[in-house]
Each structure stands twice: as C-alpha cells, then as structure tokens.
C-alpha cells in the first residue's frame, strides 16, 4: 500500500468520525438553544396573556372565540397559583395535518375568584427541520472535504513526491562500478534533502569499498604470487641437490605440490572475486561451437591418456554475447570436470540443443549433495587435491550472465545442462 493511500485512509476515517460526532453534538446543542428560545417566547407570551386577562373588561365567556390559535383557558377545581410549568405533548397539528411535538406552558391563576389554568402551545417542528438541515450540511461538508483531500493528494504526488521518485530512479540506475557523479534532484523539502544526503553518503561509501576491494583483489594476485614464485623456485633449487635422501625428497615434493595448490587456489579465488566485482564487462559475439572445439582439441591428449571416448553430437551452434575470458573459463571448467571425474575408458557426450549446451560423462557417484555441489569447497571425500572451486566458478559465471545450470545424475552418469 502506498504511503499516501495509507495516510489518506487514516485521514478520511478521522474526518468521518469527527463529522459524525460533531453532527450529534451540534444537534443537541441546537436543540437546547431552540428549546430555550421557545420557552422564553412562551413565558413572555404567557405574561402578556395573564396581563390581558386581568384587565377589567375582560369577560371569561367571550374569550373562547377571541383567543388565538394555541391559546387556551381551562377552569380547574383546584389550582396551585403563580407557577409556570412546561411540558412536551404530542398533538394533531391542523396546519400540517399530522401529529407533532408541541411545547406547552401552563399557568394557573384566579380570575375573579374562579380558578383557571392558562396554557399556550407552540409547535416544535423547527427541531425536526434542524436534524434535516444539520444532516444535509454535514453531508455536503463531507463531500467537500473528501474532494479536497483527493485533489490535494493528486497535487501532492505530482508536485512534492515527484522528487522522491526521481531520487529512487536515480539510485536504481546507478552503477557502482562506474565513477559517475550521483545527481539527485534538489528538493525544498527537508526530509527529501536528508534522504538525498544519506544516499549520497551511502553511495560514495559503497563506491569507496568497491574500489578498495577491487584494488585489493588486483594487488593480492601480484602480492601472493610473488612469494609463491620465490617458494617454488627455491624448492626447485633445493631439489637439484644430489645429496638428498629419499625422505627429504618426499618432503620437498610435498612442499612443491602444496605451493602449486596454493597458487591455483589463489588464482581461482581471485577469478571469483573479479566476477563478483563486475570486472568482466566487455562483451563480444562468440560462436559457442568455436570455443568448445578449441578447448576440446587441447584436451585431446588428456582424453586419450585416460582412454575416454568423446561422443560429439554437436550439429548446430549459436552465438552468445559475453566476455570471451569468462566463456573460455566456463567451457574449460566444464570439460575439465567431465575429464577429471570420468572413469578410465569412460565416455563424454557433447550436444547442443537450441540455446543449451549439454555435457554428460560417466563417473562414480559423488557423495556431495547436488544442491551443495556448486558451493565453494564442496568436494567429494577421497579427493583432497581437488580445489573444490571448479563448479563454483562455473556457477558464478552462469549467475553473472543469467544462464541456468542443471545437474542430473543417474546410474553413474553425470549430466550438466547450461541454458544460455
């Protein structure tokens, strides 16, 4: 839900609640005002009425015809003189032809020693009308407010939030690997300026980290390979010594092969880091079959020595747009994997289907979980010299170019399907 929708909903709820409660309060307030007004008027009229009654030439008998509508004189047996009393009563109203609430004032007095009750009634129809008016007024007020909110929000989105969305767009399209200046839209709103400042700071920090890391991975290659080169060369010089006994030769050889392993490990890790850092951004059109055939021919010797039969069923090809370095590494690693884990006298099957490269090979069942297989250093037991990085590199390259890789195993047969 958008922030604006959410706040608008809250706002509307509050407005409706306020208007509803306000309407009820208004109603009772107006009602009490109207009643007071009616009561005051009735009291005044009653004073006049009583005054007229006490004038000397007023005759009780003739009054009935003379009295205005709502005025009444009623003789009573016993009275409690001098007191005004009010009451509400429902009566049939002749003018509107229906029952209505009337306010009645009663006053008991003696007229020439005759106890009488004077009464004046007034219709309270005005209060019914009041409810109607208040309801209509609130209805229009609500409409007006909602319309106002809606119009205001549209203005809000387009005028004020537009800067926010521009910022988002800029952030989304920014490339960390390029040193472009971050140009965020200038806004007069404090919060957005703050947001921009935070983004600006964040991006420059990320960039800084990125370039540091990039420099580090570049330097580490040189820095680690140099001492390794020294170690390797010293071991070689040492191994030329003819006075060495068998035990010493074994030790030297162990040093040698581990130095080689360390060097290969370092190269592989640097490669993974470089891919992670987007350092292979060059793209060119590559014919996949050329890459496969090139590496396959280089493997010929190894394949022959291991007595592996290659069943090359590739009869079509396709172009991919990628960095040639990475595609070389991808194909090389796939072939190497198929050779390395193959059985003596086994087979390798190669095929291309549409945009898929399929490579299958015979080989013993691996005790690595297929889901774990593409992780770094996931290697089968009994192969301590394997770096466990070949498949991780394959996986990383596929991830980098959004290729999908599938691994299938069935009855001593491994199959990788790369969909480009």
């Amino acid at each position: 839900m958008k922030l604006l929708t959410k706040t608008t909903l809250y706002f509307i709820t509050i407005v409706l609640l306020v208007l509803f409660i306000g309407g009820i309060v208004f109603y009772f307030y107006f009602k009490s005002i109207v009643r007071r007004e009616v009561d005051n008027e009735l009291t005044t009229n009653m004073h006049h009425f009583a005054l007229i009654l006490h004038t000397k030439n007023f005759k009780l008998d003739s009054t009935k015809l003379l009295l205005p509508l709502g005025y009444a004189i009623k003789p009573l047996a016993k009275i409690n003189p001098g007191i005004f009393s009010f009451k509400d009563t429902i009566m049939f109203d002749l003018s509107s032809q229906r029952y209505q609430t009337f306010r009645v004032i009663q006053y008991q007095t003696y007229f020439k020693k005759t106890p009488l009750q004077l009464s004046i009634q007034e219709s309270l129809i005005i209060i019914d009308e009041l409810i109607e008016r208040v309801a209509v007024a609130i209805f229009f007020l609500t409409l007006f407010l909602l319309g106002g909110i809606f119009a205001f929000n549209r203005y809000f989105i387009h005028q004020i939030w537009s800067k926010f969305f521009q910022t988002l767009e800029t952030i989304q399209s920014i490339e960390i690997s390029k040193n472009d200046k971050l140009e965020l839209p200038v806004s007069e709103i404090y919060e957005f300026t703050l947001l921009n400042a935070v983004f600006d700071k964040m991006i420059s920090r990320i960039r800084n980290d990125y370039f540091n890391l990039k420099e580090f991975t570049e330097n580490i290659s040189h820095e680690i390979q140099n001492p390794l080169a020294i170690i390797k060369s010293k071991i070689e010089l040492l191994s030329q010594n003819e006075k060495l006994d068998e035990e010493q030769i074994k030790l030297i050889h162990s040093l040698q092969s581990n130095a080689v392993r360390l060097s290969n490990l370092d190269k592989s890790l640097i490669l993974l880091a470089k891919i992670n850092n987007n350092q292979f951004s060059e793209r060119e059109n590559i014919n996949i079959i050329d890459v496969i055939n090139f590496h396959l021919s280089n493997f010929e010797d190894v394949i022959q020595t291991k007595q592996i039969t290659v069943q090359n069923k590739i009869n079509s090809t396709f172009q991919i747009h990628a960095d040639i370095n990475l595609i070389n590494i991808l194909i090389l690693n796939l072939l190497k994997n198929a050779v390395r884990h193959n059985l003596k006298g086994g087979t390798i099957d190669l095929a291309i289907e549409q945009h898929q490269f399929i490579i299958g090979n015979t080989g013993n069942e691996q005790d690595v979980n297929p889901d774990e297989m593409f992780k770094r250093f996931a290697k089968a037991t009994g192969q301590p010299e394997s770096l466990g990085l070949g498949l991780a590199i394959i996986d990383k390259i596929c991830e980098y170019y959004n290729y999908t890789i599938q691994y299938l195993y069935n009855n001593k047969y491994h199959k990788f399907i790369i969909s480009f």
Binding site: N226, I230, K232, S233, R261, V302, N325
Partner: protein, 225 residues
C-alpha cells in the same frame, strides 16, 4: 649468451640467477625501473626478462624503450597478471613470450632456450647429444640417424626434459608445460607417468640409452652424461 632479469623481488632473482648460471648464461639483474633503463642503455643483451609491475615504473615502458633502440634479442614478460587481455597486450607490445607467475624454473629455462633458437637460427636448428639428434624446425627426433616416431606430446616431453638435462624435473612442472590449464595437478602423476613410459620405451626400442631416469616421488631427470 647474456641475459638481463628485470624483477623487483630479489629472492626470485637469486633463484633465477642460480638456475640459469648452471646453463652457462651470463646473467645480470635490475631490481627497479630506473636501474633497468640504465642497463639497457649501456649494455646489450640477448634475452631480457621483464616483470610488468615494478615499484617505480611499468614494464611496458621498458619494452617500448628497447623497441626504439632496435633491440634485436628476445623479450620475455614475467607477470602475475594472467588474463587473456594481459597476454595479448604483452605480446602486442613487442614481447616474444609471456610467462605467468609463479612459474617453474625448468619452464623458464625451456622458454629461454626456445627463444634463443628462434632469435639465433630463425627457427631452424638441431641439437645432437650422443646417439640422439633433435631437429627443432622439423620437430623430429633421430636415434642413430634413424627417425623416431613420436606423438606431439612425447616430442614436447623429450624436448622439455632434454632442455633441462641434468636436473630433476617435477611431474607438476612437466604437466604444466605439456597441458597447462587442461589438467588438474591431482591427475598429473598418472599422466606424466604414462607419457614418460611410452617415450622411454620408444627410445629404448631404437637402441638409445635409458636417458630418462625416474626420481622416486618427485619426477624425472634427463641424465647429462
């Protein structure tokens, strides 16, 4: 044969010097850019090894200087940078070979020898050793003047061992020389063993001495005498 080694790691320079001295080369070295420039301006060399990353300069500039001086010897770049781009840039700059660090000393030796052959004889020469004759331009081997039928790998293997004769060559360096990235080091023992076995058998069948000696647990050695 005069070789200049331009490399900032003194310990590595020491190893290279010690290894190449046995081959009968005269070696000099420069530990930084400035010293290297001075040397190439004052003296002439047959082979120059250049490290690209020097503390006070870039190896490419040294190669440029050499080219403007009409340097006629061979240039081998020695670098830790190993992407295709680096190699292409290196070779395009005028270098004759590109060796990635860390390398095996016998590999360096083989590259230097191969470069000397190319520079001196423009690719055509042959070496003789007792009953053995290796013709580099035709890539053929003769024993008692009878040609020996070798595969490409066997020929490369023999030449590599012969180039480093008298030295113990580890199976790792042989594997790297023959197959490079195309083999896992873990597999190398079996592979090298198979090819050495075949090569040795072919040579013995033609009546050659058993020159290729197995150094148990390490590798092989081409006996020098």
């Amino acid at each position: 044969m005069k070789i200049l080694i331009i490399e900032d790691e003194f310990e590595l320079v020491e190893s290279i010097l010690s290894f190449l001295k046995n081959e009968g080369y005269t070696c000099e070295y420069a530990l930084n850019y400035e010293a290297a420039i001075e040397k190439i301006l004052l003296y002439t060399y047959n082979i120059i090894l250049v490290d690209l990353n020097l503390p006070d300069g870039n190896g490419f500039n040294i190669i440029k200087q050499l080219k403007t001086k009409n340097f006629e010897g061979g240039i081998i770049i020695v670098s830790a940078r190993n992407t295709l781009d680096d190699r292409v840039t290196g070779l395009n700059s005028g270098a004759d070979d590109y060796l990635v660090k860390p390398f095996f000393l016998p590999e360096l030796n083989a590259r230097i020898k191969s470069l000397i052959r190319r520079v001196n004889f423009k690719g055509s020469n042959s070496v003789e050793f007792n009953e053995l004759k290796i013709n580099n331009s035709e890539r053929l081997v003769y024993i008692h003047n009878e040609s020996l039928d070798l595969t490409k790998t066997e020929y490369d293997l023999l030449l590599f061992l012969f180039t480093n004769k008298g030295r113990v060559i580890s199976k790792e360096s042989i594997a790297e020389h023959l197959w490079g990235d195309y083999i896992d080091m873990a597999d190398s023992f079996d592979f090298v063993y198979t090819h050495v076995k075949n090569l040795r058998k072919k040579m013995l069948d033609k009546g050659a001495c058993n020159y290729i000696q197995t150094v148990y647990g390490v590798g092989y050695k081409f006996i020098a005498n």
